[in-house]
Amino acid sequence: MTQKEYNTAVDDFSDNIFRFALKHLRNEMSAKDIVQETFAKVWEKHESVNYAKVKSYLFTTAYHAIVDWAKKEKRSGDIEQTEERGATQSMNFEVQEVLTEALAKLSEIQKSVVLLRDYEGYNYAEIAEITKLSESQVKVYIFRARKTLKEYIKRLDLVV
């Protein structure tokens, strides 16, 4: 990947990575850090990265950065505080906002596979490549996540 292609990737995918990280972390500063870290790592390897696969490479890098961040924050207890803040701030019963709240109920891996599926439209095989899981594992995680989300929404009786 050339420098020009790398800069094109910045224009094309930095927003996607940011949204992906923000949904995960629910913390804008941390999400920005993830974006910076992701692109910095990709730049280090840009000569060996094929531009055709840069999006996948970016999400793989971002995913691992998020997992690391989540582990670190979980140890310090910040992630729980963030979740509480998010839950109390959202009083709007729009489905998407409730879904965002419901996302906090999912495990990190479930969040990742669902967001990769919904936001980026990746198929199971692509998600498996990004998350280093098997395709069947991805499918199981997605199905379980859908059930959890469904239960959360159904409980609030939002969908008629």
């Binding site: 420098q3 790398y6 800069n7 910045v10 224009d11 930095s14 927003d15 996607n16 990575i17 940011f18 949204r19 923000l22 949904k23 920005k32 974006v35 910076q36 692109f39 730049w43 489905v95 998407q96 879904l99 965002t100 419901a102 996302l103 669902v114 967001l115 919904d118 936001y119 069947s136 997605i142 199905f143 379980r144 859908r146 059930k147 989300l149 469904k150 929404i153 159904k154 939002l158 969908v159 008629v160």
Partner: protein
Amino acid sequence: MGKISVFNYEAYYLDFLEGNLNGEDTALFLEFLEANPDLKMDNDVLPSYSEESIILDSETKEKLKHHTEDEVIVSTNIEHFLIAQAEGILSEEKTEEVDKYVAKNNGLTKEKAVFNAVYFKADTSIVFADKQSLRRRKIIFAPSWRLMPYYAAAASVILILLVWYSNTDIEITQKQYFTEDNKKTIPGNKEEPFSLEDNVAKNETQVEGNRHDYISTPLDEQLDNSLTIANHSPIDDRDKKQNNNSSNVAENTEKEPIKKREYKKKSGVNSLENFELQPTVGEQTMATIEPKNEQNNDYASVHFGDVQNPIEQITSFIAKKTKTTVDYRRQKKTKTKPSSIFVKIGKFEFSRKKH
């Protein structure tokens, strides 16, 4: 009974709970507990390890099951097919089958709607504002002709500083250079008084071969003439004459040094007292130094004409643009030549050599 006591009953207790006691020991242990009711533990305190107590609920079990499209749709697997339909991974045939099943069971209509609703939509209003910080740029040096004199000046300063700091025993001026050099090489300058007589005496003992660099002066010619014997025949060629005179001088110097001195003093015309003495520096004349193969530290004798300029294109380019003489020459140390460097920027010149 005697073998179970308050000191070892706990081990028996554990074996009893785990079912490891034989019939006899079990009877003995129960008898012991009857006798010591205060040691009997309540059932809720004791952990239960019965296999029957560890069970998974049916919902969890259901989640572990894998389903295939071939399966017949029933109440226990309809949820899976509803999710699969929402995911878009069902075949058309199976999708129709699911729809028919939902239509037959009104309660599933809402389930289906909810499963279709649990999809995230990216909020495109959320953007990463600081894209500029992620971009990478090539650093391209675009020289501005207007600034070229400044570039040249900066380059010159850097070059001078590099040379300056790379040379620990740098000599700045010619005067200092000679002063240092003479102190090292001329013993007469330090301790021995430099007298006219001594100098003459030393000149007389110069070896014959030293004459080849000697430039003849009127005084020399007179001296030479006075020293030559009658068999001397004049030769028009000056070089030949000098060579012959030199050899004669050498011969006479070796054979009759005392007579020669007397002869000089007696001679009214050729007496040394009547002539200004040539500025010789005792043994340190060029003639005496070179045969001894000593280092030539004469600053002025370092010539850079034959030294290559490794950055000729750059210096000529800078010189052209700044309309200033810019030169840089460098000679690496060889067996016959010392390492030397020469820098010229306008009127400023700097050079050094290092043995």
